[in-house]
């Protein structure tokens, strides 16, 4: 990797440590881990390494939104329904106490058992799910609660009814509400950050990714079947568009990486939740210092700057 690419990464990593994103007793161990991340980046991940991260991001034992809610929130109260048509179980919304303060939560929810998977629609929301999410955003804004969103979806559901109910428009409006709110907002991609369905709830002041999460414009399979006309070429597609956290950080798309236990979050969900909690609290602590209007301005300016011109 070139030095120009490496410098902003170093800067971001040091800033990350500087804002106490990784606080407490684990600080030194985690700084070391970040250093290792940087070292790995300098080596440039091989195609196989990128693909193995994609597999970890989708690992069926990986903790899902409710696994984290259970471990991080006290007094969690789930909010159901879009107040129009239905309650979309692919998106969980609610409010609870996170380290002593009331926080509004939106999270995409996958599942392990087959019946539960079907109920959660494999984490693929209908427009009703995004309308439910907008309700939670507006609730947070109205009452001054910080908003946490957890991204974990293969994508928005591509079905006939979903289209009829306005999937595209719902995703657009969900982002617009996030651009509008004046409370601190933090997004963590905790697994599969699948395209528009993910970004719908990810227009946040701080966007973080877990170490083995992925965030991408299209699924590797989808990309492979369009560009190579063969879904089997997914590992090659993933290597080409680099959906891993380190590359997202390097491209300026995310603000930080949340470390995971060795071998992936599923190896030690307790520790994974603790690390996630520390990162989220640290981010909220930092955002607390800003006036609401300043938050909104800075949030929009951050996304305004994304992209690379020739």
């Amino acid at each position: 990797m070139s030095t120009e690419a490496e410098l902003p990464l170093r800067e971001r990593l040091s800033k990350l440590a500087g804002v106490r994103l990784l606080r407490g007793s684990r600080l030194s161990a985690e700084t070391e881990r970040l250093q290792q991340q940087l070292d790995r980046l300098q080596e440039e991940e091989t195609d196989e390494e990128i693909w193995s991260r994609v597999q970890l991001a989708r690992h069926e034992d990986r903790p899902y939104t409710l696994d984290y809610v259970e471990r991080l929130f006290d007094d969690f109260f789930e909010l159901h329904g879009d107040r129009g048509r239905m309650d979309d179980a692919a998106i969980v919304t609610g409010m609870g106490k996170l380290a002593g303060r009331t926080v509004a939560l939106i999270g995409q929810q996958k599942a392990r058992e087959i019946q539960e998977r079907v109920k959660r629609n494999f984490g693929m929301a209908y427009p009703e799910g995004y309308r439910k999410a907008m309700r939670a955003m507006e609730l947070a804004d109205k009452h001054g609660f910080p908003l946490l969103t957890l991204v974990d979806t293969p994508g928005a559901y591509p079905g006939v009814a979903a289209e009829q109910h306005g999937q595209g428009g719902a995703i657009a409006r969900s982002q617009a509400v996030m651009a509008r709110v004046s409370v601190p907002t933090v997004t963590v991609v905790i697994g599969d950050g699948g395209s528009g369905g993910a970004v719908a709830i990810a227009l946040a002041d701080k966007v973080l990714m877990q170490e083995n999460a992925m965030y991408s414009v299209i699924s590797p399979e989808g990309c492979a079947s369009i560009l190579w006309r063969d879904a089997e070429q997914a590992p090659k597609a993933a290597a080409a568009f680099k959906p891993d956290a380190a590359h997202c950080l390097q491209l300026g798309v995310i603000d930080g990486i949340v470390p995971e236990p060795a071998g992936g979050a599923h190896q030690d969900p307790e520790l994974a939740a603790q690390l996630l909690g520390e990162a989220v609290e640290g981010a909220f602590d930092e955002l607390d210092r800003y006036e609401p209007s300043e938050l909104r301005r800075a949030r929009r300016a951050k996304f305004r700057a994304m992209g690379v011109l020739g």
Binding site: G159, A172, V217, A240
Partner: protein
């Protein structure tokens, strides 16, 4: 008698080209709906709408602008913006090569043309997409141009008219292409806060990332007849859900029926419709 060797030689490729009827159907000036064939100047005179059956052919960005604005009033902005290749993306060929080919083929720097103009004497800004440039896909340049068009509109205190034609985000720019969704959404928010209107025109096709960002956020959203406007394309929906798709899946008419858009406007009426909307938003006679 010896057996015939290789009785299954596939000659379908040659046949395809040898079939004159098929060749006519593939011709860009042959109506895919009724089969009528036109000279290019005929089609241009009819705003590229089939005079026989009303089928709306695709319109390139510059021609669209000519169709819509008062003659000679368009002044282009930021024509010099070009894409970079942040991922060193290579599928069947390098992204840089695809970009160069697209520019050569279309004469455009990327899939969107922006600038200021007057429509029925009302000042506005335009952001018009060109499907011919890599399927109208949205990467960093399209996102940046749209944002600049918003900023230019709010600077001048005039509405922005967006004409979309796009397959969605540009895969070759990876996650940065996806980030053009929130980027353009933020720009629409700022435009609205500055008190300016966004009038969104969706043409065939407006799908994926476009529908999931600025194109859906118009104060008024209109579509051309028959335009496909779906978040997921029909092929993907069919593959993933194995649902039987209605014939008019995702079409403008369905979107109107389900309350996703305000009106379907035939191309011959588009200019007058935009003029009326600009007068209404301007709150003048």
């Amino acid at each position: 008698m010896p057996p015939m060797s290789s009785p299954h030689i596939d000659v379908s490729i040659e046949h395809k080209r040898a079939d004159p009827e098929q060749e006519m159907k593939d011709h860009p000036n042959t109506c895919p709906s009724c089969g009528s064939h036109y000279r290019d100047d005929e089609l241009e005179r009819h705003l590229r709408v089939c005079p026989h059956c009303g089928y709306h052919f695709p319109v390139r960005a510059r021609e669209r602008i000519e169709q819509l604005v008062d003659e000679g009033t368009f002044s282009e902005e930021d024509a010099d913006l070009r894409s970079a290749d942040p991922l060193g993306f290579f599928d069947l060929k390098p992204y840089t090569e695809r970009l160069a080919e697209a520019e050569l083929e279309t004469g455009l720097g990327d899939a969107m043309v922006i600038g200021g103009a007057r429509i029925e004497e009302r000042a506005c800004r335009l952001a018009v997409m060109d499907f011919k440039f890599m399927g109208g896909s949205m990467g960093s340049v399209v996102g940046e141009k749209f944002v600049r068009a918003c900023e230019s509109a709010s600077g001048a205190g005039v509405p922005l008219v967006s004409v979309a034609a796009s397959g969605g985000a540009r895969m070759q720019e990876g996650i940065l292409a996806l980030m053009q969704l929130p980027k353009t959404v933020c720009a629409v928010e700022e435009l609205h806060e500055a008190g300016c209107a966004l009038i969104s025109v969706m043409t065939h096709p407006t799908t994926g990332g476009l529908l999931a960002s600025f194109a859906s956020l118009g104060d008024v959203v209109v579509a051309e007849p028959g335009a496909l406007m779906s978040f997921a394309g029909p092929r993907v929906v069919q593959q993933i859900t194995r649902e039987k798709l209605p014939d008019d899946f995702g079409r403008a008419e369905q979107n109107l029926h389900f309350g996703q858009i305000d009106a379907i406007v035939p191309r011959s009426e588009l200019r007058a419709t935009l003029g009326r909307l600009l007068r209404l938003f301007g709150n003048v006679d």
